[in-house]
């Protein structure tokens, strides 16, 4: 793999790196809120990946104006899918937050190792 390929496809590599960072945060951070933030970073990296693969260089936003049709439109399907993905991520975050609040009432802390000890 040469450098040109990498530079031409840089959004994908950025998405993969951010995905790794998010996963690392989820798996290593002891604080539960930080874990949830890591989940959000991870899912947002995937959304970035989808939007990058829908993009076409030189294309316009896919809003058709009959008076002046553009020669090239970008692919709107990944963006539409990602809207669903965002909603799913939102509901997951809300659910996780509700559970963390419950845990805070039980243990008085949101640090995972601390209440592992308390059990």
């Amino acid at each position: 793999m040469n450098l040109e390929v990498l530079l031409a496809n840089y959004p994908y590599f950025v998405a993969v790196i951010i995905f790794g960072v998010g996963t690392l945060i989820v798996l290593t951070q002891p604080n539960l809120i930080k874990k949830v933030i890591g989940l959000n970073i991870m899912t947002n990296a995937i959304f970035l990946f989808f939007i990058a693969l829908g993009n076409i260089r030189g294309g316009e936003a896919p809003i058709v104006d009959p008076a002046a049709p553009a020669a090239l439109y970008i692919n709107p399907l990944p963006s539409a899918l990602i809207l669903t993905g965002i909603v799913v991520g939102f509901s997951t975050t809300a659910f996780a937050m509700a559970l963390i609040v419950k845990l805070y009432y039980f243990y008085g802390t949101i640090n995972a190792p601390e209440f592992m000890k308390m059990r």
């Binding site: 104006d65 809300a94 937050m97 009432y105």
Partner: protein
């Protein structure tokens, strides 16, 4: 939050937040955005209001917009079927690119915006008030 500056500043900002939310909702068929994004802005604006001025919503009214939005959108889509997504079957289509065009889409977007806004608010309430 009993800070005087936030209260006074927010009193003027709230209108702009709500107007921006409605703008995104109503232009859903013309530009990026739409029911979900605009509803998010609307809901967060109202949420800021509650954070600053305290919880003042009556218990019974809390789920009312949620119920209304779910009823209209859910039942509407079930009754209408596929036709629900085709604007030219409902009302005037108008010229493309104008605000009042695309038949029922604006109405649907408004309903989705209400739904999202009230969902955010009810999630916030359920997390805040449950102290068991």
């Amino acid at each position: 939050m009993h800070d005087y500056i936030t209260r006074v500043v927010f009193r003027y900002v709230l209108l702009f937040i709500l107007m921006y939310g409605f703008y995104i909702v109503m232009h859903g068929h013309l530009s990026p955005g739409g029911g979900f994004a605009g509803g998010m802005v609307l809901g967060l604006g109202v949420l800021l209001y509650f954070l600053i001025y305290g919880l003042r919503w009556r218990d019974k009214l809390r789920f009312l917009p949620l119920d209304i939005a779910i009823l209209t959108i859910g039942l509407g889509s079930i009754v209408e079927g596929v036709k629900f997504l085709l604007p030219h079957k409902h009302g005037p289509v108008g010229a493309p690119g104008e605000l009042f065009s695309a038949g029922i889409i604006s109405v649907v977007n408004l309903g989705i915006g209400l739904l999202v806004a009230s969902t955010i608010l009810s999630i916030f309430y359920l997390i805040v008030e449950d102290k068991k």
